[in-house]
Amino acid sequence: MNRLKKLDQRIYPIATLFLAVILWQLIVTLAHIPLYILPSPLDTVNALVSDFSAIAGHVGTTLYESVLGFALSIALAFVLGILMDSFQVVKKSIYPILIVSQTIPTIALTPLLIVWFGFGILPKILIIVMVCFFPICISLVDGFEKVDKDYLNLFHSYKASKLQTFIHLKLPYALVNLFSGLKIAATYMIMAAIIGEWQGGTKGIGVYMVRTKNAYALDKVFAAILVIVIVSVAFIYVINYVAKKTTHWK
Protein backbone atom coordinates (compact mmCIF):
# COMPACT_ATOMS: atom_id res chain seq x y z
CA MET A 1 0.00 0.00 0.00
CA ASN A 2 2.69 2.37 1.12
CA ARG A 3 4.91 1.41 -1.74
CA LEU A 4 2.11 1.86 -4.20
CA LYS A 5 1.46 5.32 -2.81
CA LYS A 6 5.13 6.21 -3.17
CA LEU A 7 5.17 4.98 -6.75
CA ASP A 8 2.03 6.98 -7.41
CA GLN A 9 3.70 10.06 -5.97
CA ARG A 10 6.64 9.66 -8.28
CA ILE A 11 5.07 8.50 -11.47
CA TYR A 12 3.03 11.65 -12.07
CA PRO A 13 5.85 14.21 -11.91
CA ILE A 14 8.18 11.90 -13.81
CA ALA A 15 5.64 11.38 -16.59
CA THR A 16 4.97 15.12 -16.80
CA LEU A 17 8.65 15.89 -16.98
CA PHE A 18 9.16 13.23 -19.62
CA LEU A 19 6.39 14.70 -21.78
CA ALA A 20 7.77 18.21 -21.40
CA VAL A 21 11.23 17.06 -22.46
CA ILE A 22 9.83 15.32 -25.54
CA LEU A 23 7.83 18.40 -26.44
CA TRP A 24 10.93 20.54 -26.02
CA GLN A 25 12.95 18.24 -28.23
CA LEU A 26 10.25 18.23 -30.91
CA ILE A 27 9.94 22.03 -30.93
CA VAL A 28 13.71 22.54 -31.24
CA THR A 29 14.08 19.89 -33.95
CA LEU A 30 11.02 20.74 -36.02
CA ALA A 31 11.44 24.53 -35.82
CA HIS A 32 15.18 24.32 -36.47
CA ILE A 33 15.99 26.53 -33.50
CA PRO A 34 19.73 27.26 -33.45
CA LEU A 35 21.85 26.11 -30.52
CA TYR A 36 22.74 29.64 -29.39
CA ILE A 37 19.01 30.38 -28.86
CA LEU A 38 17.82 27.13 -27.32
CA PRO A 39 19.64 23.81 -27.19
CA SER A 40 17.55 20.64 -27.27
CA PRO A 41 17.58 18.01 -24.51
CA LEU A 42 19.76 15.80 -26.71
CA ASP A 43 22.25 18.64 -27.24
CA THR A 44 22.36 19.13 -23.50
CA VAL A 45 23.07 15.48 -22.78
CA ASN A 46 25.70 15.40 -25.55
CA ALA A 47 27.41 18.45 -24.08
CA LEU A 48 27.35 16.88 -20.63
CA VAL A 49 29.00 13.70 -21.90
CA SER A 50 31.62 15.42 -24.07
CA ASP A 51 32.58 18.05 -21.48
CA PHE A 52 32.07 15.84 -18.44
CA SER A 53 35.58 16.05 -17.00
CA ALA A 54 35.57 19.87 -17.11
CA ILE A 55 32.10 20.06 -15.58
CA ALA A 56 32.98 17.53 -12.91
CA GLY A 57 36.04 19.56 -11.93
CA HIS A 58 34.03 22.75 -11.59
CA VAL A 59 31.21 21.03 -9.73
CA GLY A 60 33.79 19.59 -7.36
CA THR A 61 34.87 23.11 -6.39
CA THR A 62 31.27 24.27 -6.00
CA LEU A 63 30.42 21.24 -3.86
CA TYR A 64 33.46 21.84 -1.70
CA GLU A 65 32.42 25.45 -1.09
CA SER A 66 28.83 24.43 -0.50
CA VAL A 67 29.52 21.71 2.02
CA LEU A 68 31.97 23.94 3.86
CA GLY A 69 29.53 26.84 3.87
CA PHE A 70 26.68 24.58 4.93
CA ALA A 71 28.66 23.09 7.80
CA LEU A 72 29.73 26.54 8.90
CA SER A 73 26.10 27.71 8.76
CA ILE A 74 24.99 24.84 10.97
CA ALA A 75 27.77 25.49 13.48
CA LEU A 76 26.98 29.20 13.59
CA ALA A 77 23.24 28.55 13.83
CA PHE A 78 23.84 26.28 16.83
CA VAL A 79 26.08 28.77 18.59
CA LEU A 80 23.69 31.67 18.11
CA GLY A 81 20.59 29.51 18.58
CA ILE A 82 21.79 28.20 21.92
CA LEU A 83 22.84 31.68 23.00
CA MET A 84 19.44 33.08 22.05
CA ASP A 85 17.69 30.26 23.87
CA SER A 86 19.82 30.61 27.01
CA PHE A 87 19.75 34.38 27.31
CA GLN A 88 16.55 36.24 26.59
CA VAL A 89 18.56 39.46 26.19
CA VAL A 90 20.47 37.99 23.28
CA LYS A 91 17.29 36.77 21.66
CA LYS A 92 15.47 40.05 22.14
CA SER A 93 18.42 41.96 20.67
CA ILE A 94 19.26 39.73 17.73
CA TYR A 95 16.13 37.96 16.55
CA PRO A 96 14.41 40.99 14.96
CA ILE A 97 17.64 42.14 13.31
CA LEU A 98 18.13 38.67 11.93
CA ILE A 99 14.75 38.76 10.25
CA VAL A 100 15.24 42.25 8.81
CA SER A 101 18.70 41.27 7.57
CA GLN A 102 17.04 38.79 5.23
CA THR A 103 15.62 41.63 3.16
CA ILE A 104 19.11 42.64 2.07
CA PRO A 105 19.59 41.38 -1.49
CA THR A 106 22.49 38.97 -1.33
CA ILE A 107 23.33 39.52 -4.96
CA ALA A 108 24.10 43.20 -4.26
CA LEU A 109 26.57 42.27 -1.56
CA THR A 110 28.54 39.73 -3.57
CA PRO A 111 30.62 42.24 -5.59
CA LEU A 112 31.61 43.91 -2.31
CA LEU A 113 32.64 40.59 -0.80
CA ILE A 114 34.76 39.93 -3.88
CA VAL A 115 36.38 43.36 -3.54
CA TRP A 116 37.16 42.65 0.11
CA PHE A 117 38.15 39.00 -0.02
CA GLY A 118 39.31 38.37 -3.59
CA PHE A 119 38.39 35.74 -6.15
CA GLY A 120 39.06 32.71 -3.96
CA ILE A 121 36.52 30.53 -2.20
CA LEU A 122 36.17 32.73 0.90
CA PRO A 123 33.59 35.18 -0.52
CA LYS A 124 31.58 32.22 -1.89
CA ILE A 125 31.51 30.54 1.48
CA LEU A 126 30.44 33.79 3.11
CA ILE A 127 27.55 34.11 0.68
CA ILE A 128 26.45 30.55 1.35
CA VAL A 129 26.56 31.24 5.09
CA MET A 130 24.57 34.44 4.60
CA VAL A 131 21.88 32.50 2.77
CA CYS A 132 21.86 29.21 4.68
CA PHE A 133 22.44 30.38 8.22
CA PHE A 134 19.09 32.12 8.56
CA PRO A 135 16.62 29.26 7.93
CA ILE A 136 18.71 26.89 10.03
CA CYS A 137 19.04 29.26 12.97
CA ILE A 138 15.39 30.31 12.98
CA SER A 139 14.13 26.74 12.76
CA LEU A 140 16.40 25.77 15.64
CA VAL A 141 15.38 28.68 17.87
CA ASP A 142 11.70 28.12 17.13
CA GLY A 143 12.18 24.44 17.87
CA PHE A 144 13.71 25.24 21.27
CA GLU A 145 10.82 27.57 21.97
CA LYS A 146 8.21 24.97 21.10
CA VAL A 147 9.30 22.63 23.89
CA ASP A 148 6.21 21.80 25.96
CA LYS A 149 6.25 23.60 29.30
CA ASP A 150 5.07 20.47 31.10
CA TYR A 151 8.22 18.69 29.93
CA LEU A 152 10.36 21.56 31.20
CA ASN A 153 8.61 21.36 34.57
CA LEU A 154 9.22 17.62 34.62
CA PHE A 155 12.94 18.14 34.05
CA HIS A 156 12.90 20.87 36.65
CA SER A 157 11.39 18.44 39.15
CA TYR A 158 14.16 15.96 38.35
CA LYS A 159 16.62 18.74 39.11
CA ALA A 160 18.20 18.34 35.69
CA SER A 161 21.02 20.73 34.82
CA LYS A 162 20.76 23.12 31.89
CA LEU A 163 23.05 20.92 29.84
CA GLN A 164 21.05 17.78 30.67
CA THR A 165 17.81 19.50 29.77
CA PHE A 166 19.38 20.56 26.51
CA ILE A 167 20.70 17.13 25.55
CA HIS A 168 17.76 15.01 26.70
CA LEU A 169 14.90 17.36 25.95
CA LYS A 170 15.46 20.52 23.96
CA LEU A 171 17.75 19.24 21.24
CA PRO A 172 15.71 16.15 20.34
CA TYR A 173 12.53 18.20 20.59
CA ALA A 174 13.92 20.79 18.17
CA LEU A 175 15.31 18.22 15.72
CA VAL A 176 12.16 17.87 13.67
CA ASN A 177 12.01 21.62 13.23
CA LEU A 178 15.72 21.85 12.56
CA PHE A 179 15.50 19.43 9.66
CA SER A 180 12.84 21.46 7.92
CA GLY A 181 15.21 24.43 8.16
CA LEU A 182 18.07 22.31 6.86
CA LYS A 183 16.02 21.25 3.86
CA ILE A 184 15.25 24.85 2.96
CA ALA A 185 18.91 25.78 3.41
CA ALA A 186 20.01 22.86 1.23
CA THR A 187 17.85 24.02 -1.66
CA TYR A 188 19.45 27.47 -1.48
CA MET A 189 22.97 26.27 -0.87
CA ILE A 190 24.21 25.49 -4.40
CA MET A 191 22.35 28.49 -5.77
CA ALA A 192 24.15 30.74 -3.30
CA ALA A 193 27.50 29.28 -4.31
CA ILE A 194 26.70 29.93 -7.96
CA ILE A 195 25.68 33.53 -7.27
CA GLY A 196 29.11 34.01 -5.73
CA GLU A 197 30.94 32.30 -8.55
CA TRP A 198 28.94 34.07 -11.22
CA GLN A 199 30.27 37.43 -10.12
CA GLY A 200 33.89 36.52 -10.20
CA GLY A 201 36.07 33.52 -9.62
CA THR A 202 38.51 31.11 -11.13
CA LYS A 203 36.78 27.79 -10.61
CA GLY A 204 33.33 26.44 -9.92
CA ILE A 205 30.23 25.56 -11.89
CA GLY A 206 29.12 29.22 -11.84
CA VAL A 207 32.37 30.28 -13.46
CA TYR A 208 31.95 27.54 -16.05
CA MET A 209 28.43 28.78 -16.81
CA VAL A 210 29.58 32.37 -17.30
CA ARG A 211 32.34 31.25 -19.67
CA THR A 212 30.14 28.96 -21.75
CA LYS A 213 27.36 31.55 -21.85
CA ASN A 214 29.80 34.16 -23.17
CA ALA A 215 30.85 31.69 -25.86
CA TYR A 216 27.16 31.09 -26.74
CA ALA A 217 27.65 27.42 -25.93
CA LEU A 218 24.18 27.20 -24.45
CA ASP A 219 24.17 23.41 -24.58
CA LYS A 220 26.99 23.50 -22.02
CA VAL A 221 25.11 26.05 -19.89
CA PHE A 222 22.12 23.72 -19.88
CA ALA A 223 24.34 20.77 -19.08
CA ALA A 224 25.65 22.68 -16.09
CA ILE A 225 22.11 23.49 -14.95
CA LEU A 226 21.18 19.83 -15.24
CA VAL A 227 24.12 18.86 -13.06
CA ILE A 228 23.24 21.52 -10.48
CA VAL A 229 19.68 20.22 -10.23
CA ILE A 230 20.86 16.66 -9.84
CA VAL A 231 23.41 17.59 -7.18
CA SER A 232 20.85 19.69 -5.26
CA VAL A 233 18.25 16.95 -5.32
CA ALA A 234 20.85 14.45 -4.17
CA PHE A 235 21.75 16.72 -1.29
CA ILE A 236 18.13 17.10 -0.20
CA TYR A 237 17.77 13.36 -0.46
CA VAL A 238 20.72 12.88 1.89
CA ILE A 239 19.22 15.33 4.39
CA ASN A 240 15.87 13.56 4.21
CA TYR A 241 17.59 10.29 4.87
CA VAL A 242 19.50 11.65 7.85
CA ALA A 243 16.29 13.26 9.15
CA LYS A 244 14.45 9.98 8.92
CA LYS A 245 17.20 8.15 10.79
CA THR A 246 17.62 10.72 13.56
CA THR A 247 13.93 11.47 14.10
CA HIS A 248 12.81 7.87 13.73
CA TRP A 249 10.09 8.25 16.39
CA LYS A 250 8.05 10.55 14.17
Partner: protein, 253 residues
Amino acid sequence: MQDRAVLEKKVPASSGDEALITLDRISKSYGSAEILNKVSLNISKGEFVSILGPSGSGKSTLFNIITGLVPADEGTLHVNGEIGYMQQKDLLLPWKTVLDNIVLPLDLKGFDKKASRAKADALIDRIGLRGYEHRYPSQLSGGMKQRASFLRTFLASGEIMLLDEPFGALDSITKGKMQTWLLEVQKELGVTILFITHDIEESILLSDRIYVLSSRPGVVKEEISVEFDRSNKPGRLLNPELLMMKEAIKGLL
Protein backbone atom coordinates in the same frame (compact mmCIF):
# COMPACT_ATOMS: atom_id res chain seq x y z
CA MET B 1 -28.84 15.65 57.28
CA GLN B 2 -28.82 11.89 57.22
CA ASP B 3 -26.13 11.93 54.61
CA ARG B 4 -23.85 13.69 57.00
CA ALA B 5 -23.74 10.71 59.27
CA VAL B 6 -22.03 8.72 56.57
CA LEU B 7 -19.12 11.08 56.53
CA GLU B 8 -17.23 9.79 59.45
CA LYS B 9 -15.23 12.78 60.37
CA LYS B 10 -11.81 12.08 61.60
CA VAL B 11 -9.83 14.51 63.63
CA PRO B 12 -6.46 14.99 61.95
CA ALA B 13 -4.77 14.10 65.19
CA SER B 14 -1.12 13.24 65.28
CA SER B 15 -1.70 9.54 65.60
CA GLY B 16 2.00 8.92 65.75
CA ASP B 17 2.25 8.35 62.01
CA GLU B 18 5.13 9.88 60.18
CA ALA B 19 3.77 12.88 58.30
CA LEU B 20 5.38 13.13 54.87
CA ILE B 21 3.55 16.19 53.60
CA THR B 22 2.03 18.85 55.82
CA LEU B 23 0.31 21.94 54.49
CA ASP B 24 -0.65 24.54 57.03
CA ARG B 25 -3.08 27.26 55.99
CA ILE B 26 -1.77 27.63 52.46
CA SER B 27 -3.22 30.55 50.49
CA LYS B 28 -2.59 31.62 46.93
CA SER B 29 -3.98 34.35 44.72
CA TYR B 30 -3.29 35.37 41.16
CA GLY B 31 -3.95 39.08 41.05
CA SER B 32 -7.37 39.61 42.50
CA ALA B 33 -8.42 36.02 41.93
CA GLU B 34 -8.20 34.01 45.10
CA ILE B 35 -7.33 30.43 44.19
CA LEU B 36 -6.63 28.75 47.52
CA ASN B 37 -7.75 29.90 50.93
CA LYS B 38 -6.09 28.51 54.06
CA VAL B 39 -5.79 24.95 52.85
CA SER B 40 -4.42 22.57 55.47
CA LEU B 41 -3.78 18.92 54.94
CA ASN B 42 -1.41 16.15 55.88
CA ILE B 43 -0.35 12.85 54.44
CA SER B 44 1.31 10.10 56.42
CA LYS B 45 3.61 7.38 55.26
CA GLY B 46 1.91 4.62 53.33
CA GLU B 47 -1.38 6.46 53.00
CA PHE B 48 -3.49 6.93 49.92
CA VAL B 49 -5.00 10.39 50.15
CA SER B 50 -7.14 12.08 47.53
CA ILE B 51 -7.84 15.71 46.91
CA LEU B 52 -11.26 15.87 45.36
CA GLY B 53 -12.66 18.98 43.80
CA PRO B 54 -14.44 20.35 40.77
CA SER B 55 -12.48 22.15 38.09
CA GLY B 56 -11.57 25.60 39.27
CA SER B 57 -11.00 24.44 42.81
CA GLY B 58 -7.29 25.15 42.56
CA LYS B 59 -6.27 21.50 42.52
CA SER B 60 -3.53 22.13 40.00
CA THR B 61 -2.29 25.18 41.87
CA LEU B 62 -2.13 23.11 45.03
CA PHE B 63 -0.23 20.48 43.08
CA ASN B 64 2.24 23.09 41.82
CA ILE B 65 2.76 24.44 45.33
CA ILE B 66 3.48 21.00 46.75
CA THR B 67 5.94 20.19 43.97
CA GLY B 68 7.61 23.55 44.45
CA LEU B 69 6.88 24.89 40.99
CA VAL B 70 4.88 27.79 42.41
CA PRO B 71 5.43 29.50 45.75
CA ALA B 72 2.50 29.95 48.15
CA ASP B 73 1.51 33.43 49.24
CA GLU B 74 0.86 32.41 52.83
CA GLY B 75 1.11 29.35 55.02
CA THR B 76 3.74 26.72 55.49
CA LEU B 77 4.58 23.60 53.58
CA HIS B 78 6.61 20.72 54.94
CA VAL B 79 7.68 17.91 52.71
CA ASN B 80 9.56 15.08 54.30
CA GLY B 81 11.11 13.17 51.41
CA GLU B 82 11.28 13.41 47.69
CA ILE B 83 8.16 13.96 45.64
CA GLY B 84 7.65 12.44 42.25
CA TYR B 85 4.75 13.65 40.23
CA MET B 86 2.70 12.36 37.41
CA GLN B 87 0.08 14.06 35.32
CA GLN B 88 -2.72 13.27 32.96
CA LYS B 89 -0.22 13.68 30.16
CA ASP B 90 2.22 10.81 30.33
CA LEU B 91 5.14 13.11 29.41
CA LEU B 92 7.22 10.27 28.07
CA LEU B 93 9.95 11.39 25.69
CA PRO B 94 9.01 10.04 22.25
CA TRP B 95 12.65 9.64 21.22
CA LYS B 96 13.54 7.34 24.09
CA THR B 97 12.55 3.72 24.52
CA VAL B 98 10.22 2.77 27.35
CA LEU B 99 13.09 1.56 29.50
CA ASP B 100 15.20 4.67 28.81
CA ASN B 101 12.21 6.81 29.70
CA ILE B 102 11.67 4.99 32.96
CA VAL B 103 15.28 5.39 34.08
CA LEU B 104 15.52 9.01 32.91
CA PRO B 105 15.37 10.52 36.42
CA LEU B 106 18.09 8.14 37.56
CA ASP B 107 20.23 8.95 34.52
CA LEU B 108 19.81 12.64 35.25
CA LYS B 109 20.99 12.08 38.80
CA GLY B 110 24.13 10.52 37.35
CA PHE B 111 23.57 7.02 38.70
CA ASP B 112 25.22 4.03 37.15
CA LYS B 113 23.33 3.36 33.95
CA LYS B 114 23.56 -0.41 34.12
CA ALA B 115 22.39 -0.57 37.71
CA SER B 116 19.47 1.78 37.00
CA ARG B 117 18.36 -0.31 34.07
CA ALA B 118 18.60 -3.50 36.09
CA LYS B 119 16.50 -1.87 38.80
CA ALA B 120 13.86 -0.78 36.31
CA ASP B 121 13.94 -4.11 34.53
CA ALA B 122 13.14 -5.87 37.79
CA LEU B 123 9.96 -3.80 38.08
CA ILE B 124 8.84 -4.05 34.45
CA ASP B 125 6.71 -7.11 35.18
CA ARG B 126 4.80 -5.27 37.87
CA ILE B 127 3.65 -2.64 35.44
CA GLY B 128 2.88 -5.29 32.84
CA LEU B 129 5.22 -3.95 30.22
CA ARG B 130 7.47 -6.96 29.78
CA GLY B 131 8.27 -7.23 26.08
CA TYR B 132 7.71 -3.53 25.55
CA GLU B 133 10.89 -2.24 27.23
CA HIS B 134 12.61 -1.47 23.98
CA ARG B 135 9.62 -0.08 22.14
CA TYR B 136 8.95 3.62 21.72
CA PRO B 137 6.05 5.38 23.50
CA SER B 138 4.19 5.87 20.22
CA GLN B 139 3.83 2.10 20.01
CA LEU B 140 2.08 1.90 23.40
CA SER B 141 -1.56 2.31 24.40
CA GLY B 142 -2.68 5.10 26.72
CA GLY B 143 -2.85 2.83 29.76
CA MET B 144 0.59 1.37 29.05
CA LYS B 145 2.08 4.83 28.75
CA GLN B 146 0.58 5.81 32.10
CA ARG B 147 2.02 2.70 33.72
CA ALA B 148 5.45 3.48 32.31
CA SER B 149 5.07 7.04 33.54
CA PHE B 150 4.09 5.69 36.96
CA LEU B 151 7.20 3.56 37.24
CA ARG B 152 9.34 6.49 36.19
CA THR B 153 7.73 8.60 38.91
CA PHE B 154 8.28 5.83 41.41
CA LEU B 155 11.96 5.50 40.53
CA ALA B 156 12.38 9.27 40.69
CA SER B 157 11.03 9.56 44.20
CA GLY B 158 10.25 6.23 45.73
CA GLU B 159 8.59 7.81 48.73
CA ILE B 160 5.82 10.21 47.85
CA MET B 161 3.92 10.14 44.63
CA LEU B 162 1.74 12.98 43.58
CA LEU B 163 -0.68 11.87 40.90
CA ASP B 164 -2.64 14.62 39.17
CA GLU B 165 -5.67 13.10 37.46
CA PRO B 166 -3.45 10.40 35.97
CA PHE B 167 -6.35 8.47 34.46
CA GLY B 168 -8.32 11.49 33.30
CA ALA B 169 -7.57 10.93 29.63
CA LEU B 170 -8.29 7.21 29.58
CA ASP B 171 -11.49 5.50 28.50
CA SER B 172 -13.62 4.15 31.35
CA ILE B 173 -12.71 0.50 30.78
CA THR B 174 -8.98 1.21 30.80
CA LYS B 175 -9.49 3.56 33.71
CA GLY B 176 -11.10 0.82 35.78
CA LYS B 177 -8.24 -1.56 35.07
CA MET B 178 -5.70 1.11 35.93
CA GLN B 179 -7.38 1.83 39.26
CA THR B 180 -7.23 -1.80 40.30
CA TRP B 181 -3.66 -1.96 39.08
CA LEU B 182 -2.71 1.16 41.04
CA LEU B 183 -4.07 -0.31 44.28
CA GLU B 184 -2.09 -3.51 43.74
CA VAL B 185 1.10 -1.68 42.93
CA GLN B 186 0.73 0.64 45.89
CA LYS B 187 0.45 -2.37 48.18
CA GLU B 188 3.46 -4.07 46.63
CA LEU B 189 5.70 -1.04 46.57
CA GLY B 190 4.44 0.49 49.79
CA VAL B 191 4.36 4.01 48.45
CA THR B 192 2.53 7.04 49.75
CA ILE B 193 0.16 8.51 47.21
CA LEU B 194 -1.48 11.89 47.00
CA PHE B 195 -4.08 11.63 44.31
CA ILE B 196 -5.79 14.59 42.71
CA THR B 197 -9.10 13.97 40.99
CA HIS B 198 -12.53 15.34 40.18
CA ASP B 199 -14.07 11.89 40.03
CA ILE B 200 -15.95 11.21 43.28
CA GLU B 201 -16.24 7.47 42.76
CA GLU B 202 -12.58 7.17 41.91
CA SER B 203 -11.56 8.98 45.08
CA ILE B 204 -13.76 6.77 47.28
CA LEU B 205 -12.56 3.59 45.59
CA LEU B 206 -8.88 4.36 45.97
CA SER B 207 -8.42 6.45 49.09
CA ASP B 208 -7.86 6.05 52.77
CA ARG B 209 -8.79 9.67 53.24
CA ILE B 210 -10.31 12.32 51.01
CA TYR B 211 -10.01 16.06 51.21
CA VAL B 212 -12.98 17.69 49.51
CA LEU B 213 -12.12 21.04 48.00
CA SER B 214 -14.68 23.66 47.07
CA SER B 215 -14.28 25.92 44.06
CA ARG B 216 -13.21 29.55 43.84
CA PRO B 217 -11.52 29.91 46.20
CA GLY B 218 -10.36 26.41 47.03
CA VAL B 219 -11.18 25.65 50.65
CA VAL B 220 -11.08 22.29 52.38
CA LYS B 221 -14.77 21.62 52.87
CA GLU B 222 -14.42 18.30 54.53
CA GLU B 223 -11.93 15.66 55.41
CA ILE B 224 -13.37 12.22 54.97
CA SER B 225 -11.96 8.95 56.15
CA VAL B 226 -13.03 6.05 54.00
CA GLU B 227 -13.25 3.24 56.52
CA PHE B 228 -15.18 0.53 54.74
CA ASP B 229 -13.41 -2.27 52.85
CA ARG B 230 -9.96 -0.96 53.76
CA SER B 231 -8.28 -4.28 53.12
CA ASN B 232 -10.16 -4.91 49.91
CA LYS B 233 -10.54 -1.63 48.14
CA PRO B 234 -11.66 -3.04 44.77
CA GLY B 235 -14.57 -4.58 46.69
CA ARG B 236 -15.79 -1.10 47.49
CA LEU B 237 -17.36 -0.90 44.05
CA LEU B 238 -19.90 -3.50 45.17
CA ASN B 239 -20.50 -1.95 48.56
CA PRO B 240 -23.64 0.20 48.94
CA GLU B 241 -21.70 2.44 51.27
CA LEU B 242 -19.87 3.76 48.24
CA LEU B 243 -23.07 5.10 46.78
CA MET B 244 -24.10 6.67 50.05
CA MET B 245 -20.77 8.33 50.46
CA LYS B 246 -20.89 9.48 46.85
CA GLU B 247 -24.25 11.13 47.43
CA ALA B 248 -22.99 12.72 50.62
CA ILE B 249 -19.98 14.18 48.85
CA LYS B 250 -22.18 15.39 46.00
CA GLY B 251 -24.14 17.30 48.61
CA LEU B 252 -20.98 18.99 49.73
CA LEU B 253 -19.96 20.23 46.30
